[in-house]
């Protein structure tokens, strides 16, 4: 069915363009809340790309973690600073030029890495990476040590936040 394939291809490019537009919105809008919403849209677009590439699990996790949790957290933070949300905020400062140079360096590094890596696309490899069971087995078997270390780091960070938050409590009663 060539017509459907062409349509899917065009659709994918359209989604990519939309992601780029929203990503630009994130760094150009003057209103922080609009930026956060653009970020959410860009992340959902990325999830759509994952779906097109038949990585549904990754797409669902992307939406669950980034849109459901991270963006919500960002919006919460913006809400707590209401005076910032209403007014306009400058998106650039005197270090913009340096930042662009750094960014270009990072992009070239990433691009060379992506171009150099041989991406083995075989049916077996696709099968192995798609299945939730394979992922679970890898996390609980081969990669159990880094997995547990990350958990410990996360718990340490959580306890640290609680400790920091607790210190201020007696000084400033609500």
């Amino acid at each position: 069915m060539p017509i459907l394939e062409i349509a899917a291809k065009f659709g994918t490019y359209a989604v990519m363009a939309v992601i780029l537009i929203f990503a630009l919105g994130v760094v150009t809008f003057r209103n922080l809340f609009h930026c956060a919403l653009c970020l959410a849209a860009a992340l959902i677009g990325t999830a759509v790309i994952y779906v097109v590439l038949q990585a549904e699990y990754l797409a669902a996790i992307q939406i669950l973690l980034y849109v459901g949790a991270v963006v919500t957290l960002i919006i919460f933070a913006i809400m707590l600073t209401e005076h910032l949300a209403g007014k306009t905020a400058r998106q650039n400062n005197s270090q913009s030029l340096l930042a662009i140079v750094g960014l270009l360096g990072f992009v070239t590094l990433l691009a060379t890495l992506i171009l150099k890596t041989p991406w083995p696309v075989t049916p077996t490899a696709l099968q192995a990476k798609n299945s939730v069971m394979g992922l679970g087995k890898a996390l609980m078997g081969t990669y159990v040590f880094p997995f547990e270390v990350i958990s410990i780091i996360l718990i340490a960070a959580l306890i640290g936040t609680v400790v920091i938050a607790k210190k201020d409590a007696p000084e400033e009663p609500l």
């Binding site: 459907l4 959410a40 549904e56 699990y57 939406i63 669950l64 849109v67 919500t72 809400m79 949300a85």
Partner: protein, 390 residues
């Protein structure tokens, strides 16, 4: 092959779709047939969502009316059956009011965006045998991910209105939905463990047995998981007794205070569609989905779902609203530990599932419930006095 009439009644919708597609396939190219297949499912869902929502409002008003010893709507049409249509016309003709200082674009987008996740969940709900619109192999995860997006449009609406009641309602919604999402997700885990799949279809198929009554709810972990999931589902769609985000007596109408006409109707629609899909998913996970003896599969599914919805309406008619700290405490200090214990129980059940396992489960559950209740003693805040000036 000759099949019994029950089979044809069971497969009536599937057969109808296949018949239409084969008819189209006679004189149209293949790719149009593929598109038509998608379009048919899509159109059915796009019509099903709003129609279900319209009649849910009628059902709710009728049942609440009966609970409160009155008739409910009975003027428009027989038994008030045309009432939802009259409501719809009223909504369309209402004036659309936008606050002067509102963020116009976000204010407009919020009610439109909120319908999208509510409709998308319909895609993975198995309405009957072979009646899942998209048989995703991560169906359940899709449901959890998409329903977590619902917070965003509520935030958008509440923030864009520039109204303190809206903002308070939005904050409450966010806090409540994030809190209840965690026990809800964990309550689903036992069903995934036992069926060893994330696909809603496979989870239903894992509940077959004698008379199609081998449902997950007939196991100790199933009952606990179902109750937790159902309570969290009630909280997720902001229905009483978890309706703090739109508590009329405190916040006017919560996050949709500044919405009128069709925009308000869209918020309302998303809420009712969420109630339906959450009940449908609860039925799928723990009540055997479309499995059941004698009757056609889709009838079983809708029967179970509407039974759960009636329980939700019953909740609304009987329970008073939670207090904010009770609401949060219930999710974090009671439901969350209970789900973890439930996951442990499921793991035990995997190895032995006989009478002794039942006894052990009841023992463990009883002890943990007792400990949790003891730990969650009612907290009585210090009495505060506000002496009047002068």
């Amino acid at each position: 092959m000759i099949r019994s009439w029950e089979f044809y009644v069971d497969m009536i919708f599937v057969t109808a779709k296949a018949w239409i597609l084969s008819l189209l396939g006679r004189f149209l190219p293949d790719w149009i047939v593929v598109l038509a297949s998608i379009t048919i499912s899509g159109v059915v869902i796009l019509c099903l969502g709003p129609v279900i929502m319209m009649y849910l409002t009628l059902l709710e008003r009728k049942v609440i009316g009966r609970i409160q010893n009155r008739y409910g709507p009975n003027r428009v049409g027989k038994w008030g059956l045309l009432q939802p249509i009259a409501d719809g016309i009223k909504m369309f003709t209402k004036e659309d009011i936008v606050p002067a200082n509102a963020d116009k674009i976000v204010h407009l987008l919020a009610p439109i965006v909120i319908v999208v996740p509510a409709l998308m969940i319909f895609l993975v709900v198995p309405f009957g045998e072979r009646m899942t619109a998209v048989n995703l192999n991560i169906g359940l995860l899709f449901f959890i991910a998409v329903s977590s997006v619902t917070i965003l449009p509520i935030f958008m609406g509440s923030w864009a209105s520039r109204n303190k009641y809206s903002l308070l309602g939005g904050m409450r919604t966010a806090a409540q939905m994030i809190s209840y999402e965690i026990p809800m997700t964990l309550a689903v885990v036992p069903a995934i463990m036992m069926s060893q799949s994330l696909s809603t279809n496979t989870i239903v198929l894992a509940q077959t047995g004698d008379f199609d009554l081998h449902w997950f709810i007939f196991t100790p972990w199933g009952i606990v998981g179902f109750i937790i999931f159902f309570l969290c589902a009630t909280a997720e769609c902001n229905r009483p007794p978890f309706d703090l985000p739109e508590a009329e007596s405190e916040l006017v109408a919560g996050f949709h205070t500044e919405y009128s006409g069709m925009k308000f109707a869209l918020f309302y629609m998303a809420e009712y569609m969420n109630a339906f899909t959450l009940c449908g998913i609860a039925a799928t996970l723990f009540l055997g989905g479309w499995q059941g003896p004698f009757l056609p599969s889709w009838l079983w599914f809708f029967g179970k779902t509407f039974l759960l919805i009636c329980v939700m309406i019953w909740f609304r008619g009987t329970f008073p609203r939670f207090r904010v700290d009770h609401l949060m405490g219930f999710a974090w200090k009671f439901l969350l530990p209970l789900t973890l214990i439930n996951i442990l129980l499921t793991a035990l059940w995997q190895f032995t599932s006989n009478l002794t396992a039942w006894l052990w489960s009841i023992l463990i559950l009883g002890i943990s419930l007792w400990i949790l209740v003891k730990l969650n003693r009612t907290f009585v805040p210090e009495k505060r006095h506000y002496p009047l000036e002068s």
